[in-house]
């Protein structure tokens, strides 16, 4: 089913529940991994994923089709993940930058992380990046998204994304060489 058709069904009160079930089936895995790349911890990703779908369900009538459905949903997922991390930092009384270190330092004891030494080192390197570069790198490297799609989701230019990715890669390489 095409997204346009799905949106029409979602905006039809009689078909909304049925269409929403299709939407969840279609997007749950992609959105989960997108969120997981932000929050890293499975339980947190699970919470955010559910919030994202509930937001989509509640706000689908406001979706005017100015962007594509998937980019609208990815945008909600990105915003929800960032908000979640900021709230978590506030709860732990640490800065929004320190939360990245906190999460990575706890990654080794996470039962849902089975990465090897290199994968852990890569995560540590990513945690050192500024927010925009970190988001760009995660979406490009782990999710293999196209710049065009990323630009639509993050509401930024392709040039800025390319630049962010380039800087991110250089910084990660430096980190891996020196640590």
């Amino acid at each position: 089913m095409q997204d346009e058709e799905l949106v029409q069904l979602l905006q039809n009160p009689a078909k909304k529940n049925e269409a929403f079930a299709i939407l969840v089936k279609e997007y749950k895995i992609r959105l989960y991994w997108h969120i997981r790349n932000f929050v890293k911890i499975h339980e947190d990703a699970d919470d955010v994923l559910q919030n994202v779908f509930i937001k989509v369900f509640k706000n689908i009538d406001k979706f005017k089709g100015e962007s594509k459905l998937y980019s609208w949903m990815y945008r909600i997922a990105s915003n929800e993940s960032i908000t979640f991390l900021n709230k978590k930092a506030k709860k732990l009384k640490i800065s929004n930058e320190e939360i990245q270190d906190y999460i990575i330092n706890n990654l080794e004891s996470d039962v849902y992380f089975e990465g090897d030494e290199i994968q852990l080192k890569l995560q540590k390197a990513i945690a050192t990046l500024p927010e925009k570069q970190r988001i760009t790198f995660n979406m490009k490297y782990f999710q293999e998204m196209k710049y065009r799609e990323m630009a639509e989701i993050l509401n930024t230019s392709i040039g800025a994304l390319k630049s962010n990715y380039h800087h991110a890669v250089n910084k990660i390489e430096d980190y891996l060489k020196n640590n």
Partner: protein, 176 residues
């Protein structure tokens, strides 16, 4: 096949963009990637894993939550409409009452103080308070006091004491 050969030989006027067929498969896969989950399986390894059957469970959890929200929404739409009207009415009534009380208080205060002018106060004093000359009449003058004292001098002290003893119930009060 015969038809295909013929078609390719005889120009129809229709043409395709350059390298259209070469790129077709790649573009088709890209389009499918946007609508299927195939690509997820090929993503670079991150080391992150998920509990078994997580995606089946989460789907049920999300759908249950939205079902509940949907049901509540039907009830709450009506409930909130009534509650909103009641709240607005309550605010209007409260505001009106507060304004009314304030106005009454202000009026009372005005009646007590503001509305009185100096001439009214003067008239009141003139009519209700005795002039100093008249107030003096309320008290015994010095000459009257002298007369009273001279009258008392003519009375025997024993008579006075007997009178006091007889008229006063508690003579000790005199000592106080």
């Amino acid at each position: 096949m015969e038809l295909n050969k013929k078609k390719s030989k005889q120009p129809s006027g229709f043409k395709t963009p350059k390298h259209y067929f070469e790129n077709f498969e790649a573009r088709l896969i890209n389009t499918l990637d946007l609508h299927t989950n195939h690509k997820i399986k090929e993503l670079p390894a991150t080391g992150f894993k998920i509990p078994e059957a997580y995606f089946d469970d989460v789907e049920n959890k999300i759908l249950k939550q939205t079902e509940v929200k949907n049901q509540t929404k039907i009830r709450t739409l009506w409930y909130y409409k009534v509650a909103r009207i009641a709240a607005i009415l309550l605010i209007i009534i409260t505001s009106y009452s507060i304004l009314k009380v304030n106005n009454t208080n202000q009026n009372t205060k005005s009646n007590n103080f503001s509305s009185l002018n100096e001439s009214d106060i003067e008239i009141y004093i003139e009519n209700n308070i005795l002039p100093y000359s008249e107030m003096r009449n309320l008290y015994i003058t010095e000459s009257e006091l002298d007369i009273a004292e001279s009258n008392l001098q003519g009375i025997n002290q024993d008579v006075i004491l007997r009178y006091l003893d007889h008229e006063l119930e508690d003579i000790e009060l005199l000592d106080e």
